[in-house]
Amino acid sequence: MTDLQRDQQISPPSQAAPVLLGGAAAHKRSSPAGRSLATRVLPPIGVFIAFVGFWYLYAGVVLDENGRKTALPYPHKVVTSFYDGKIGEQPGDLIEATRVSAVVALAGLAIAIVIGVTVAVLMSQAKWIEDSLYPYAVFLQTVPVLALVPLIGLLIGFGFPARILVCVIISLFPIITNTLFGLKSAEKGLHELFTLHNQSRFTRLIKLQLPASLPAMFTGFQISAGLSVIGAIVGGFFFQRGPRDLGNRIQLYSARLSPGELVAAIFLSAMLGVVFFQFFGWLGQRLTRNWHQPA
């Protein structure tokens, strides 16, 4: 083993580990090392303060009392409408609506993930399947979802399932394309290794292609998670039967000229999308952190 010591590439694990762990930790942080918390957090806070200031300016100087009631209230009025839900409803109504929207978006996303991954796996197995299905995946992506809404209502009614279907349609395409890209991303050499040992398509799929596809697959999930929330809002806006969600509320508040609640509902919709997007980003990173470096 004397030759081993000459191999400068190898150091004992006890020495190597801290260096490697340090390396891994450095990769985790997307911003360059040395940037302090303050320099990363202060600029967006500054932008937020400027935005709110402009809002007060607009509501206080440009709009009159009537304008603040019918078009845009002061920011603090929006904050209070989170919990004092007026218009003859219970306090906390917007929070409940957000929960219902989250359930709709999650249900739609879950269905889209099952269908999307299955379709991508089928496409990865034969070129003719890919060629047959791909145009329709593109069609789903390019047709405006608003144009489909009346048709969905006529087909399956104007209730809760219709909202979920909107989410499925809007989130399917990124899952299919990203997963398919991931399934095809395994190195040629690795494929040859499996060929050499006479492996079935199934083993190749389970042990090679699916693990290789995880980073791209989760990028797809992440994009679709944000889209699914949009789908839930659009669905709730048009399909009013069933539990009240954010889409319902937005439709109601705009009809009743309640800008405070409206802005609050819009804000909650955006936050819900951000939470979904961040969660799937985090989950994907966690599952692949040992081997995948996010770009």
Binding site: M1, D3, L4, R6, D7, Q8, Q9, I10, P12, P13, L20, G23, A24, E187, G189, L190, E192, L193, F194, T195, L196, H197, Q199, T203, K207, L208, P211, A212, L214, T288, N290, W291, H292, Q293
Partner: protein, 268 residues
């Protein structure tokens, strides 16, 4: 013996003589007039004939693009001959690729277990085999590391260990150390020879490095540029185990010089 021949897969052009199966050596490789023309009409190999016996380490050295890697693809069954025959038992061969080709999401232990896993070896057994192989390539203590935490040389060791797990009687090396720096490459050469001494496989090694060819081999074939033909063959007389300082031996230099001239002649 009969069993070994039953397992043998003969890759040959249609209509060739089936009786030649009898010449298949147990645990060896026979190239018998092998030619390869790709579908696009490129002639990669022309009338290649040589054998690799168990306990032999045969190297094919040639200029880039001469088709020497194709030779291994034909032997392993990744590709098929268009003339002649390539005879060997393909049921258990070790194949070391140009890149380490590790699964990046598996740690060292699980990567080394892969081939045993693909051959449905029981979990406890493949764990023991993998641990032994990791020990042999000097990576004990790195079992839980992931490929991206390892240097190029260490990844290549993992790749070697993975091929060792099923104790294949035939080992095919496709320029495995070509991407490594010179000192790491020399160390890997010595490691591979140590494995050759302990495992006694039939080794077929592809490289474009003359010193690597002379240092490793019992026999070196020099291949011409496309279409690849064998233009010279040298027996390398040095005894094993070979000391690293053999590279500075005058006889080593003389053989390397001869090979170099043969290669220049082949490189038209």
């Amino acid at each position: 013996m009969g069993e070994v021949i039953d397992l043998t897969i003969v890759d040959s052009e249609p209509g060739s003589n089936a009786a030649s199966r009898a010449q298949v050596p147990a645990g060896g490789v026979v190239f018998d007039g092998v030619g390869k023309i790709f579908p696009d009409g490129t002639e990669a190999l022309q009338d290649i004939s040589f054998t690799v016996q168990p306990g032999e380490f045969v190297t094919v050295v040639g200029p880039s693009g001469c088709g020497k890697s194709t030779l291994l693809r034909l032997a392993s069954g990744l590709d098929h001959v268009t003339s002649g025959e390539c005879r060997l038992d393909r049921s258990n061969i070790g194949y070391v690729f140009q890149d380490a080709t590790l699964l990046p999401w598996r740690n060292v232990q699980d990567n080394v277990e892969l081939i045993a896993e693909l051959h449905n070896v029981a979990k406890a057994d493949r764990h023991d085999r993998a641990s032994a192989a990791i020990q042999k390539v000097g990576l004990a203590g790195f079992e839980r590391h992931f490929p991206r935490q390892l240097s190029g040389g260490m990844r290549m060791r993992v790749s070697l260990a993975r091929s060792l797990v099923m104790s294949p009687p035939i080992f095919l090396f496709d320029e495995p150390f070509g991407a490594l720096d010179e000192i790491t490459r020399e160390i890997m050469n010595e490691e591979a020879l140590r494995l050759f001494a302990s495992e006694q496989f039939a080794g077929l090694f592809i490289t474009h490095s003359i010193s690597e060819a002379v240092f490793m081999s019992t026999k070196v074939h020099v291949m011409s540029s496309r279409p690849g033909r064998i233009v010279a063959t040298y027996d390398i007389p040095f005894d094993y185990p070979r000391h690293p300082d053999l590279r500075f031996d005058p006889e080593f230099a003389r053989l390397s010089g001869e090979l170099s001239h043969a290669l220049r002649g082949a490189h038209t």
